[in-house]
Symmetry: D2
Subunit: 412 residues, 4 copies
Amino acid sequence: MDKLVEQGSRRLKWAYEHMPVIQELDRRYREEQPLAGLKIGMALHTEAKTGMLAVTLANAGAKICLASCNPLSTDDSVAAALRNEYGLDVHAKKYETQEEYYNNLNAVLNISPDYVIDDGADLITMAHTKRRDALKNIKGGNEETTTGVIRLKAMAAQGKLEFPVMDINDAKMKYLFDNRYGTGQSAFDGWMNATNLVVAGKHLVVGGYGWCGKGVAMRAKGMGAIVTVTEVDPVKAIEARMDGFEVKPMAEAVKTADIVMTVTGCKDIITEKVLANMKDGCVMGNVGHFDNEINKKDLDAMTVSKEKARDFVDRYTLKDGRKLYLIAEGRLMNLAAGQGHPAEVMDTSFASQAMGIVYMVNNHERMSCQVYRVPDEIDNEIATIKLRSLGIEIDSLTPEQYDYIHSWQEGT
Amino acid sequence: MDKLVEQGSRRLKWAYEHMPVIQELDRRYREEQPLAGLKIGMALHTEAKTGMLAVTLANAGAKICLASCNPLSTDDSVAAALRNEYGLDVHAKKYETQEEYYNNLNAVLNISPDYVIDDGADLITMAHTKRRDALKNIKGGNEETTTGVIRLKAMAAQGKLEFPVMDINDAKMKYLFDNRYGTGQSAFDGWMNATNLVVAGKHLVVGGYGWCGKGVAMRAKGMGAIVTVTEVDPVKAIEARMDGFEVKPMAEAVKTADIVMTVTGCKDIITEKVLANMKDGCVMGNVGHFDNEINKKDLDAMTVSKEKARDFVDRYTLKDGRKLYLIAEGRLMNLAAGQGHPAEVMDTSFASQAMGIVYMVNNHERMSCQVYRVPDEIDNEIATIKLRSLGIEIDSLTPEQYDYIHSWQEGT
Amino acid sequence: MDKLVEQGSRRLKWAYEHMPVIQELDRRYREEQPLAGLKIGMALHTEAKTGMLAVTLANAGAKICLASCNPLSTDDSVAAALRNEYGLDVHAKKYETQEEYYNNLNAVLNISPDYVIDDGADLITMAHTKRRDALKNIKGGNEETTTGVIRLKAMAAQGKLEFPVMDINDAKMKYLFDNRYGTGQSAFDGWMNATNLVVAGKHLVVGGYGWCGKGVAMRAKGMGAIVTVTEVDPVKAIEARMDGFEVKPMAEAVKTADIVMTVTGCKDIITEKVLANMKDGCVMGNVGHFDNEINKKDLDAMTVSKEKARDFVDRYTLKDGRKLYLIAEGRLMNLAAGQGHPAEVMDTSFASQAMGIVYMVNNHERMSCQVYRVPDEIDNEIATIKLRSLGIEIDSLTPEQYDYIHSWQEGT
Amino acid sequence: MDKLVEQGSRRLKWAYEHMPVIQELDRRYREEQPLAGLKIGMALHTEAKTGMLAVTLANAGAKICLASCNPLSTDDSVAAALRNEYGLDVHAKKYETQEEYYNNLNAVLNISPDYVIDDGADLITMAHTKRRDALKNIKGGNEETTTGVIRLKAMAAQGKLEFPVMDINDAKMKYLFDNRYGTGQSAFDGWMNATNLVVAGKHLVVGGYGWCGKGVAMRAKGMGAIVTVTEVDPVKAIEARMDGFEVKPMAEAVKTADIVMTVTGCKDIITEKVLANMKDGCVMGNVGHFDNEINKKDLDAMTVSKEKARDFVDRYTLKDGRKLYLIAEGRLMNLAAGQGHPAEVMDTSFASQAMGIVYMVNNHERMSCQVYRVPDEIDNEIATIKLRSLGIEIDSLTPEQYDYIHSWQEGT
């Protein structure tokens, strides 16, 4: 067996071993074949965990075509193994050019999918704009991430969304786990792999205190950093403060920052104005979906020389003599410089994807062109399977307790 | 000045000094008089922070009548000062009998209030049952706590709720802070005052992983306990586990428990079946609203002798020789054995109350007999005032950023 | 039974229930009578845990005379119970004047003790100066706290110490537990009782990063504070930083401080220069042994009016209009405003005292006038009893492992 | 420039940029030439930080010969760059056989060093046994790690040590930082790189609660694990429990373990008896110096098949069907599967090495064949330089304060 395929196979097997909910759904769907005869186009980070989602959907009866949702996030060994060992149609490689990236998304739409699974909404956007030929066959889709959901809700609000979409990102079994514990850990996987620098005792600035930012801040504290949070939402700002973090505007926070991680889902978090204040020696990385949180044009304009400092770190020497460091060109550092989220958290995210797409297949005719929350029943079923896989028992309400919390007459 | 009044005045002044949002609303409402000519009936824990809410509403033009929402939670010095220094109509004392408790609620309804502010929904329930005479003048109300909201939603679902109610409990500036940081800290205020026992190295079981339970578990960990969580909701159960806590059924968890705190809002969390397994020497306390989380009948039935072990702790010697300890007779230990939530967290809770009741006064005619969420604008305004009082500046979205996160065309 | 005696008896019983090592030593010493016929003079904080140490030593055969080592730290109910229920000779009350304080220490020396147990070294100092009449019969002593050990080592270094002293403070089973987990928790017992203010989100400055300061900083973080540490030792300063705390000079740190706690064992930590910079509204408390860490003369000199803000808090209004708050007049806030260390941590401290004094009785003839470390065997025995009481088993070295870590020939 | 050399040069430059104390010593020693004319033989992990220590010593005038102290811990690119760019004599490569490993140590001794710097004491042991020819010229040495110090103290106790050795491991600026924050972080660098599995919610067992074990346990907790500690020392066992960890015998702890990390410095921590109880799916790794903490012979004897599961993980399928996983063949997982300690913590460790060897050169004639603590002055100087590099100011004692804590007359 080819070395690359062998490595990819190992990684897929390893992931599968640590995804007990996917294992159970795989067993169930192999038998039930809920996706028999359907074509599913996917644009996700092509690595081991996603690979096992694709395999599970294929085992459930679907024809799969898979591209990556980010030019840097493909694991070539996994792509090779999916093609060679599992017979999937995969269009993805690490370090895609912009052109290759869009060619691959086009390849996915070329199969004329019945359903699409997207991460960041590039694929769905293309289907609604340049590839309206593909649009007419699409009955529904899933969206994985905050950024994509924001875009799709904007489309729906403007009446531009032409099929229903399941908002997987806001499934409880996704965002409560993937965004916090997944991003929280993988950001530091990327950090340690890229820099081999200590976190303890460092001033670390987290841009954004959404669920992902909360995860990064929590783990930064857990590793000994002194954390400052930046926010635009006053409620989240107070929450960050009450969680024991300093809260400041970004342009203020960077004055003493050793490390800055952007996790906002917005653009232009680190701009010329911010860079002007940044402490000499600061290392920046992005954990948000797109590579526009740190404005590289602004950084380039202030730079006199740029060189590779480590495999995933560039050293920018500015006109004023300061040296700043950027991880993975400002792309998702947990995927570009690390190995992405751990299998166990992707297990429940991708179980939400799998159950979400099956739900969509069964219900799309009753749904309108909106973004839908995953029903609580799906969250509860996934959680229940996960608990069982961990050997954890929990209490259940007695009928008297159930009545009590659904009644109002009993008081002091 | 009377000693008791003097002490109460000091406590009210102290609380007010640490409630900057209430201070700002007080200044604003004194001028605007939004509650001029209205009668407001209140049933809350009669202590210093609540006192300052009542004073603020009085300063805003309302006639106030105040009772306690729990027979053990009154601070007599504060009650005295509210009567003597601030001229409020207060019907509350510490250690009320069941009869006194209901007499006091009746006194509140006797003023025929225009609006009611409740905590636990006993007052509103009375107005809908035995005191329907008072019901007809009530135009709306606020409810403070999880337990009360559950009851009122049950009433609304059954079509039994006869005026609109603001769900203050689920205002972001309430539950995110009061329930977590307030309950989290005050539970241990009660603990330390009642027991003077160490938390570090103890097996501490938290019953319930809602926002209050999360706060208690977080602080227990922060004080060095080894924490186990019990839940009936599988999603919350996984969340607790991922937060680094053991998750078990209660009857299992108590086998090694040194400390048990119930924080569920449900009843019968500690019953005969659980007590049968409980470790010798275990100390139990309740942080949920009502005193039925720990079933005292079950405990009494297993007991051969009971004696006072400390001012707020009873020692139960069971038939099998085990000794179990119960704090504050199973009533809210943070209020009965401690001083309740810190002023700073009640600041934003009671700002939500004050702004909520003003909102209700201005909008009740457009509202139906339902339980209403506090509008985001109120949360944001409270958060903004709070940030200002802390001297914290935050970022704001540029127009380009605003467009970006409300658009969908820009992608990879 | 007298109410006060009854309360004190309850507290002593409660403490004893939670001191399993003292229980075991008590059983052992009742039988062995290692202190038969000896007079022991004690100056410790007269509260429940100390009370049980005194009772244990009495049960071991000694005649006990007990005073308090701090004018504010006596629990009158415990003093009453020790006198009335246990027949001990106790000279202590809460709120002693300076004169009463020294009278009580003199009373202890009046019994002409064979051994002394001291906390802060005031008693031992008196015996070496004004009460040299008592000195001649003293064969040895124990010292409980950092401050006292510093004083006694200074005496020994100058050749002024005239009997051997066991340094109980530096016994592992004392300082690793009492200083960290005891002080860490009880500082916040005092804080919550005195202020009822939140810790989360507050800027809290800890003066000193010795074992006590580490404990306070650790718990402050665990309760959600943003912690800054001040130090004079560069190694401890770096350690604090690596533990995730800001490190600053005190005069800088107080500019943004909401709470300051001094835990240095040195004097003049908060002086005029520091107070000049202190943030309006800051609350100060001391957790160090003496009340000279916060210089009250300096504070008084800057003050225009002073009033009681709460039972244990004074409000100082300065000439420049700022209001500063001082807890318990700058005395040990965990004892003066709280209930002192939990029984479980005092268990091992006082087991070190009990075993230390028995060791001294058995070995004093072979000892010189120095300050002695408690032998490792005592630490290990106390730890082993404690583990047993907790039901914890641990591994032990196999003979092969023992040889391995005591040999040098086996390598890579 | 050769690719490998280029990569190594980048890594050395990167490390140097993050080692401000080494930078300052390098500047100082280039001028002072304290090692002029001396030959220094080194056996350390040959990677970037060590490389910069070697370069600094070379710049200080010494002739350097460097081998690795572990067959798996060499960074080939750094070795290449040290040879080609810095002209050092380096005998090390990744994946050395046992024979190559000892050949390289022999090469170091072949230069007949004046001083040796060792990590694990293999080099010093060889000089005392098979290579006594080299012994006669060695005037002194440094030892880096716990394991080595244990061996050397055993030698000294038996009168077998024939030159003085500085115990660098127990320098405060080494063990307080390197062992805790370095090992704590790098263990999880190795973990994430080897497994890409989540830590949060996992049962993680830490074998040993010395300074390294404390670091690993602290970070495990900081990443969300539920941690159990095993110990043979009763005092450390209680300490672990008070820090919020379960404490159990290893054979008990592994029954529910998802992850086991051994950090004891002893051998045979995971043996047949332990493996027999281990939970199916458990992943084991070692963070102690030698690869004998997990007994691979015992593991092999229970295994029916073994295969590569990931690049640094082997899957063992046992006779009873359980699958167990071993990271990096049981060798130091933070170096074999990760990148070793961060540069900033090695900065102070290697500053202790550099100042320690200069101290030895200046003082060896006054020293006997013992293991020596690094003088406090060196610790304080390193800490002071480090603070300065971080821009941190601290307080200093006034003369009055100095007198106060060195006197004994001032009391209550």
